[in-house]
Amino acid sequence: MTGVNNIIIVGVGGQGTILASRILAEVAIAGGYQVKISEIHGMSQRGGSVMTQLRFADEVFSPVIEPAMADIMLSFEMLEALRALPYLKAGGKLIVSNQELMPMPVITGVAKYPTDIAERLLSVVPDGQIVDALTLAKTAGTVKAANVVLLGMLSNLLNFDQNFWLEAIRKCVKPKTVDINLKAFALGRG
């Protein structure tokens, strides 16, 4: 690989974007790369939109990713994928969990949750993958492992040894949940 690899992970606060970025970072480090991650904690934890940006290359300076420069976007929620779509570069790859979480303006009736998100995503990214990550995670043992299901899918787009992924999962998740997460990864990788 040459140049900087830019990956953004988006979702709703509490969905596990930060853990996913940590696992991915460990994989890239095992692959011999320099890694930088930028994330924002705080208010955004309380159910707001969240974005984690991860960059890896032989040398990385800025931890933040420029709009329209992300190579890959991993989204844990449909609306958040649509919101962050302008960050993806032309020809970039897209993996989205088909989960839909209603934001407060939709709940209170002042805004509508778009009904055509899948079409709009695929019109921009024809080979985008929209997946029922929650069901796969449930099969693995808990819906909480949806983030690792998505990492399993991501692993097919990145050229890293599978063992790097398994080792990174073992290192980053709680010891009690290692088996479930390894299963979730395998289900996502297919």
């Binding site: 705080g42 208010m43 309380r46 707001g48 800025s62 931890p63």
Partner: protein, 580 residues
């Protein structure tokens, strides 16, 4: 050598471990909180949550005077609270190395202002070191401890959100134990009464002058010569962005943001054809350059407000066009909200229902300002709610106290609300103060506090008794209510508002995120009874919604079965289902 991916905050914590630090005392605040959380994991370092930043710094000062290396970490506004000891210990100096971390928040990701605390260092006469990434966060913090001892001065490590919360690789070393530096009584150094403070101020100026001489030649600042057509002076996170956006430019990378190196500024300015100073927030380096007669461009290109991003630099100096980020207008915003089952929700529902003027405060509950609750009138700073309500009553008079309340969380009350309540009693207003007691500092990620029954290391600790505390201050009406019980809470609220004197209502319920066991029976909507009136939606609960048939529905994956929606439904359409 072991390397590890770390946030800037984790790296500062690691530096405390490696530098032989004995004590860390802090108050949580984004983006500084994880420093102390991570220090608490090292058995070799004593770590504590103090009730506020002023106490935290005083504790660290005590440790320094007795001869230990010590640190206090806080967010930028926390340094305002700790400014009193900071400005004076600058005169006194240190014994063991003393470091204050100020984690600033340009762009206000999680803050009420974006003050630039490099200026606090300058105002106090305290040197400020500014790392650009995690490896430097570790290295600069360790350096700050040894420089603190060498120059007899406290040091500030200034992080910003993008250095505190960005991760990069760090090389780890072993801990070097630092035995206590022997303590000798020295009242001329540490008793800052006027007769001692006057010579100590002159002494501080001498110490600063000798540190300034050191700064010129030290490795913390460096010039990176590349193409000399463009030169950029920058520091902290912005340095990374300049490297990204202008790979050919020469750079004067500033690691010591106060005091700045005059000789290096002049040498660098003389070596480049066009000079820029790129800094977030205040034009501190730019004004320093101007004071030296150096021609440069800075704030005429970059705003004093908010963050600077690499693509701003590429556009404004590199001439690279940047299409604005356009998010389609029909995408609904997703603001942060109170969690499903948040114990604060019921209270704010009642405050809104009674159309009270709500003098609010800093914490998760500040989210009650947003629709649909829309139940907050003011939020200024930690602990301000009580003083603001008192001032409103004293100025407006009449029966304003009948429809005004001050609301703050228990951690915020302990931080700086107690003195406000004392003022209410002493100066005899009739403010009703509501203490939201969820037994944890929740907004910053669940840190323990003097009310939670545990300390920073998770060990058992005494928990303050708010009822006794408020009565001791002189409040005669002190009531406690469970905010899940709207009827009881409403009655208690009314009793406090009607009381002819200061009153305190404590709404007590643990944070919903910390409750592991849910009630057995889920809440279900009976579509026969639901009229679609949407009264339940006024709670602003993320687990509630309206389905395509216009009936309420409950998202079971989010619901924690608090039962508030059943309480506000006038048609008995929300009931307990079969136990699971």
């Amino acid at each position: 050598m072991t390397t590890q991916l770390m946030t800037g905050n984790e790296a500062v914590a690691r530096a405390c471990y490696e530098a032989g630090v004995k004590l860390v005392s802090s108050y949580p605040g984004t983006p500084s909180t994880e420093i102390t959380e991570n220090v608490a994991k090292y058995d070799e370092v004593y770590a504590e949550w103090a009730p506020n930043e002023k106490v935290a710094l005083e504790v660290a000062i005590g440790a320094s005077i007795i001869g230990a290396r010590s640190l206090a970490a806080m967010k930028h506004v926390g340094l305002n609270v700790a400014a009193d000891p900071l400005f004076t210990i600058a005169y006194g100096g240190v014994n063991g190395g003393l470091v204050v971390v100020s984690a600033d928040d340009p762009g206000m990701h999680s803050s009420q202002n974006e003050q630039d605390n490099r200026l606090m260092g300058r105002a106090a006469g305290v040197p400020v070191l500014e790392p650009s990434h995690s490896a430097e966060a570790l290295e600069f913090t360790k350096t700050a401890f040894s420089l603190s001892e060498r120059f007899d001065m406290p040091f500030i490590i200034r992080l910003t959100t993008r250095t505190a919360h960005a991760s990069s690789l760090v090389s780890l070393s072993e801990r070097q134990e630092k035995p206590l530096i022997p303590y000798k009584k020295n009242e001329k150094k540490f008793v800052m009464m006027p007769a001692h403070a006057r010579p100590r101020h002159l002494d501080l100026e001498e110490r600063l002058a000798s540190f300034m001489a050191y700064v010129e030649g030290c490795g913390l600042n460096r010039i990176e010569w590349r193409d000399k057509k463009i030169g950029v002076i920058c520091s902290g996170a912005v340095y990374n962005y300049v490297k990204e956006a202008l790979p050919c430019a020469s750079i004067l990378k500033i690691g010591v943001s106060y005091p700045l190196p005059a000789r290096m500024f002049k040498e660098f300015a003389a070596g480049v054809r066009k000079l820029y100073v790129i800094e977030e927030l205040e034009p501190m380096m730019e004004q320093f350059a101007c004071s030296l007669g150096i021609k440069c461009q800075g704030k005429e290109l970059f705003s004093k407000a908010g963050e600077i991003m690499p693509w701003d630099i590429a556009a404004k100096i590199g001439g690279k066009e940047q299409a604005p980020l356009s998010i389609p207008a029909d995408i609904p915003a997703r603001p942060p909200v109170m969690c499903a089952g948040c114990p604060h929700r019921g209270l704010f529902y009642l405050l809104g229902k009674h159309k009270l003027v709500v003098s609010g405060d800093i914490g998760c509950y500040t989210l009650a300002c947003s629709p649909p609750l829309s139940a907050m009138d003011t939020t200024i700073c930690m602990g301000a709610s009580i003083g603001v309500a008192h001032g409103m009553e004293k100025a407006a008079g009449g029966d304003i106290s009948k429809h005004t309340v001050a609301v703050l969380g228990e951690s915020t009350f302990l931080h700086s609300g107690m003195t406000g309540l004392l003022n209410v009693v002493y100066n005899q207003s009739k403010v009703t103060t509501i203490i939201l007691d969820n037994s944890i500092t929740a907004m910053t990620g669940h840190q323990h506090n003097p009310a939670s029954g545990k300390n920073a290391k998770g060990q058992p600790a005494p928990a303050v008794n708010f009822e006794q505390l408020c009565r001791a201050i002189g409040v005669q009406k002190v009531l406690v209510a469970d905010p899940y019980d709207l009827t009881a809470t409403e009655a208690a609220l009314q009793e406090c508002l009607d009381f002819d004197g200061p009153a305190v209502l404590i709404t007590r319920r643990p944070c919903a995120l910390l409750v592991k066991e849910l009630p057995a029976a889920p809440l279900v909507v009976d579509n026969k009874n639901c009229t679609g009136c949407k009264a339940c939606l006024k709670l602003g609960c993320p687990a509630l919604g309206i389905n395509a048939e216009g009936k309420a529905f409950i998202e079971q994956s989010q619901c924690v079965r608090c039962g508030l929606c059943a309480e506000v439904c006038r048609f008995d359409a929300i009931t307990k289902g079969a136990a699971q």
